[in-house]
Symmetry: C2
Subunit: 396 residues, 2 copies
């Protein structure tokens, strides 16, 4: 009945969000979502801080604020980024966004005309791919290996592709694959981008959630040229539902993103910005993160141990050192779409890998498993069901 814009007509609702909607069935074991563990929210602290806010700063928290965000929060974030991640040259600024998702979308909006290209790791975060598509930009995939993008493929695609405006990466605890880009590859990709004058978007929502191994420097920390947009959020640390994230980038970029944000939502919910600030400065922020790391270490190990136990050797899966996801690859003999459908019939929801491909017609033989949200019992039971199903398929 309506004539929608070209860019939106082509856009499909995210498969994950649609699966998420079907997850209202409490019997379903939800390996499909990307929700943080409900027990990770610091409810007592947030509740107490909220009472204080209503008592002492209610009018300020309920009135319009500045598009850039609540100044004390921006300063606290800048300080933490510098101390923890070596991020922040003289020319860098911090902008508060309505979840990391908005940071991704705004970056594409300020750099891409319709038809322009964003290079992405393939597979990549579906929310980013769809954000690019919703603006008429085209995500083009670079094959992802265990230590990051294939560099030959990256330069090859760059040589052959016109109007590449941005490289979108999740170098640390990748979504969906759970892998981490090595420092060597980070440096190499940065050099390539710098030589070709292309902006890198470093999406780092899980960066604080390393539960094994040693930290690797962020790409932004080596960004002398100011071409890296760094994005993260409080979604996996304090609360996903409050929608508070942040971007750190060159002031010229932040200025344009601010103008673009202004016309999207004026500013991010101010009350929760102030709550985040209070949590960062009045509570044990590092302790909160340590708690989540310990929780996810246990959950991830439980999932990997169960996979080790129930999966035949033909099945490969990643062994993440942080983040929320395990990526499980089936042998080509197994048809992924019937496998995923059959798993859902047996009350286990996983996301089929093709969902995360830049080219949605490209087939996949992998699926994503989330270990942060399901209970321990669900992790064991769900992986056992998947193991049974795999064996049935292989015996066919």
């Amino acid at each position: 009945m309506f004539n929608f814009s070209d860019k939106i007509s082509a856009l499909k609702p995210s498969a994950i969000r649609e699966i998420f909607k079907s997850l209202t069935d409490p019997e379903i074991i939800a390996f499909a979502a990307g929700n943080p563990a409900s027990e990770s929210f610091p409810i007592e602290e947030l509740s107490a801080l909220s009472r204080e806010l209503f008592e002492s700063q209610a009018v300020k928290a309920l009135q319009y604020g500045m598009t850039e965000g609540y100044t004390p929060l921006r300063e606290a974030i800048s300080e933490r980024l510098y101390k923890k991640f070596g991020i922040g040259r003289d020319f860098d600024r911090t902008l508060i966004v309505t979840g990391g998702q908005q940071g991704i979308e705004l970056s594409c909006k300020i750099f891409c005309n319709e038809g322009d290209v964003v290079l992405c790791e393939n597979p990549s975060f579906i929310g980013a791919l769809n954000a690019f598509r919703s603006l008429g930009a085209k995500p083009v995939g670079v094959p992802l290996e265990q230590d990051g993008m294939n560099l030959d493929a990256l330069t090859d695609i760059l040589d052959k592709t016109e109007n590449v405006k941005m490289i979108y990466m999740i170098p640390t605890f990748h979504n969906p694959m759970g892998i981490t880009t090595s420092f060597e590859k980070r440096k190499a990709i940065y050099q390539i981008a710098r030589e070709r004058n292309i902006v890198i978007f470093e999406d780092n929502p899980y960066g604080e959630l390393r539960f094994e191994g040693k930290d690797i420097l962020t790409i932004k920390s080596i960004d002398d040229a100011g071409i890296v947009i760094y994005c993260s959020s409080f979604s996996k640390i304090l609360s996903a539902g409050m929608r508070v994230g942040y971007v750190n980038a060159h002031e010229e970029i932040i200025q344009k993103m601010t103008v673009a944000k202004q016309v999207e939502d004026v500013h991010t919910n101010l009350f929760f910005q102030m709550l985040c600030y209070k949590f960062m400065t009045e509570c044990d922020f590092d302790g909160q993160i340590a708690k989540i790391r310990a929780l996810y270490l246990r959950k991830c190990r439980l999932m990997l141990d169960t996979l080790d136990k129930v999966m035949p050797p033909e099945i490969h899966f990643t062994r993440p050192q942080g983040g929320l996801f395990v990526w499980c690859t089936l042998p080509p003999a197994i048809d992924l779409s019937t496998f995923v459908a059959e798993a859902l019939k047996r009350k286990v929801a996983v996301v089929p890998g093709g969902t995360f491909n830049c080219d949605t017609d490209q087939p996949s033989s992998a699926f994503r498993l989330n270990f942060s949200n399901p209970s321990d019992e669900q992790i064991v039971r769900g992986v056992e069901i998947l193991g049974e199903l795999v064996r049935e398929y292989l015996e066919k």
Copy 2:
């Protein structure tokens, strides 16, 4: 240093937001902002409801939610829209957005390709004009009269303009002019849009804030064809800083807006969505609105009475029956830009009318005054200063 997208390169920061930033000087009388009165926020109730939420539904409120919004809130809004405004056919649905601003931006995104046209009342809300520009769409102005758009101009522009995809209107207590479109004109504009298969965006953030005269039916209430997108918010009723608004439109439109919203911010702050729901169903929502109406009636009258007293007859101003703004027109002899600059020197901030023009090069001899946010003393003193200044200019 950077190559920004065409649509964003052209976009200037909103003059109002920039003025708003300079308003940190407490000596300045801020007629320039559009902030609701700070004393209008129901702090006690929100504080109590917030405590209850943390006690009984904290995990739900802090976890990811659905892009469409919190279902009980959507239902409560739909019910109120139906009862109060006659809005809601079988095909209509409600979507929660991050303030009305997001509703405006999403509508343009789903209907407009780059280069497409949105017809707007001229002058119009700067946030809407810039949202259209940020997507590469072009706002084209239709002259606004005391009872709404000039209909001859509207049909004339429609005849001469290609790719008009939407008509953006604030028919009730217009921002910046404070006028209200008559029911006759609402019907006529609806018929014109319907015949030409163009969508109408009915922006109604101030609809509940009538303090004089009789309600006029919304355009959405006569929308048998499903071509009207109705948008409003809680910003002027409960809190502007929380960023909770809503859109009611045909389900096909809502579906596309949901997909577009998903990639902008996943969903609106869930805690405050639940807070709005609790306020609507557990507190005296109509009483809260009645309180604000009484407050703004008093403030508006004070401003109009003072204008009557101090302004020479050459100065014209609108007499709004609701909303937040008075529009004041100077005789052509007075140069607006030096007038506004001189007023700011005397510590009175107003927004020059040209800011609100679709064509920013088009001159204006008017300025906007806000009466909701300044104190009574500021209203009297500020208008007196403007009156003095006008007389000085006329005596030159």
